[in-house]
Symmetry: C2
């Protein structure tokens, strides 16, 4: 059963197990500071496919299949796949799971999709609607770049606030029963927060207010301080958005900085020309399902807030002058034992 | 608590209440045979907006606000919005609810999105994750046509198997507590079924095998015959897909025809030049949240299977020669009392 505490935080009494996880990334991501902690790094961002969209599907499929393998599971053990990506009509995810023979619910939370899938998936496992499910998400620099911005060959200048869409995918298996130590204890579904940002090259600014809303609500609902957690991580605010989030919280006398990281800021090194950091559904999905959950397994992180951030926009909505709303969904993940 | 019965059907013990519903449609849909049974028919498909995308957002917002009003509810009574549409990055739904101040989970099930939202929403209400939520979906002929096919002014010939994307939106409010008679008793999450159809102008054929998979599984899981229901309705198979579904079931000695309808076949009259029928997320959403739920309120339908159908594809995936997978999610809706 799920209990609501405070304003909006959902407390999961049975605490679904995070049974298995895997991250699959592209070459640039593999060359970055976290490279050694991903399960799969491709040498060929095309993944042997004829198009970038098919390559993204293949990358997400690799993450799902690797997670299942690591957990000693088959696709037939799954009752549900919750998946999403940034492509029009979410085809990266549909291509990844089309032949899976597993019930499928497509999710669209922009870059927050991994957190959305985990929050929703935890509730579904808790409720009995699924005994075991996978939450997955992906993005691919090449499919995203030509869809959102310019042809790949164009070589346009990027602004300092621009982020680099990660070629990455992550998958996590949740289950009611398990022998592991890592479990989801709380979930919070985010609201769209729109503060008038219209610059599609400054997603960090568009998303920071939503991250602020979600994290301050979560801390208040739990009656917690930042240092009650070993790590509070946002999805892809990047350097610009992360600074804004810390500033917004500081105005409420909350200092997040001792435990705070952002997946987008962690993914690439300064020398990798990613400007304000990584972004895309795959960014937070791979950083969570790679390094962060590895650190939890190793006992280095015991209590984690994973707060996936997303920017609700499309090239069409931006061209039509509509503002970009941010959204941020969060889950609390805990490791029991030593 | 949710119990799994048979292979995949979810039985909802508390049976969430369908507290309120509303449908908002465009002029052509209002001129059709169901016109009088929609809550709102616009005279101006632009909905007073500057773009078709904004018009679609406004139409979905109208459906949500009308449903809340009919149920004597405010937005602040909602714990969650589950919404989706066909536009790139699902902007119809994001524009509809950006200012709502309600937690939001974007859904992408192509034209099955309304059924996906209801099935998922029923599980979330049952679990305690939300006390009250809205499930909504929309489509707009003009925003869809230019995104999927041709510029509106182009005047291309349509094939006989082509369907007409409905300018329509539907919204339904689910709640744990209620005084009404209409409740959701079962849900079934569909699998993607892909049978090699690559013709983007024959969605009925692409989706019929998924509808067959979902409906035959549901009937078997429930140990039910078609005539245990007053009405079994699919989302937007249209005339072509509906025929295929009946044929597929007949091979299993199941005769669905006495209780079967398809929202896409119902929406437009023969003289309205919609060829194989209506389609789009809004088609099944509006036919359910308009005429069908009105008939349930009036006691004319007591037991309904609503099986939303969707085609997983994008213009890009079709151009790249990928097959179109169908998907079909179902809910059983019952009216108690007289």
């Amino acid at each position: 059963m799920i209990r609501r505490i405070g304003q909006r935080t959902l407390q999961l009494e049975d605490q679904p197990f995070l049974l298995a996880h895997a991250a699959a990334v592209g070459k640039k991501e593999g060359d970055g500071p976290l490279g050694a902690q991903f399960d799969f790094v491709t040498e060929d961002d095309r993944m042997g496919q004829k198009s970038w969209e098919l390559a993204e599907g293949e990358l997400q499929k690799t993450a799902i299949e690797t997670a299942l393998k690591k957990g000693g599971l088959q696709k037939s053990d799954l009752d549900l796949i919750l998946a999403g990506d940034l492509l029009n009509q979410c085809i990266g995810s549909f291509l990844a799971s089309m032949q899976s023979d597993v019930p499928y619910l497509g999710q669209y939370g922009a870059c927050s999709t991994m957190a959305q899938g985990l929050a929703l998936g935890a509730c579904l496992v808790e409720s009995g609607a699924a005994r075991r499910l996978v939450a997955s998400a992906s993005s691919h620099f090449c499919s995203a770049e030509r869809q959102y911005r310019f042809p790949l060959a164009y070589g346009g200048q990027r602004t300092p606030t621009a982020q680099w869409t990660a070629t990455a995918a992550g998958a996590a298996v949740l289950g009611k029963q398990g022998s592991g130590h890592i479990r989801i204890t709380h979930a919070l579904f985010g609201k769209m927060v729109e503060m008038g940002v219209k610059d599609a090259n400054n997603m960090g600014a568009a998303m920071a207010p939503a991250a602020y809303d979600t994290l301050s609500t979560l801390l208040a609902d739990l009656g917690a301080q930042p240092n009650d957690f070993d790590c509070i991580v946002t999805g892809d605010l990047g350097h610009v958005g992360a600074d804004l989030l810390l500033t917004l919280l500081r105005e409420d006398k909350i200092d997040l900085s001792p435990v705070y990281s952002d997946c987008g800021s962690l993914l690439f090194g300064d020398e990798q020309d990613a400007h304000a950091g990584g972004s895309g559904c795959g960014c937070s999905a791979a950083v969570l399902c790679g390094p962060l959950l590895r650190d939890m397994q190793a006992g280095k992180i015991k209590r984690l807030v994973f707060a996936g951030t997303g920017a609700m926009m499309s090239p069409t909505s931006v061209q039509q002058g509509q503002p970009i709303a941010g959204i941020c969904h969060a889950v609390v993940i805990e490791r029991s034992g030593t």
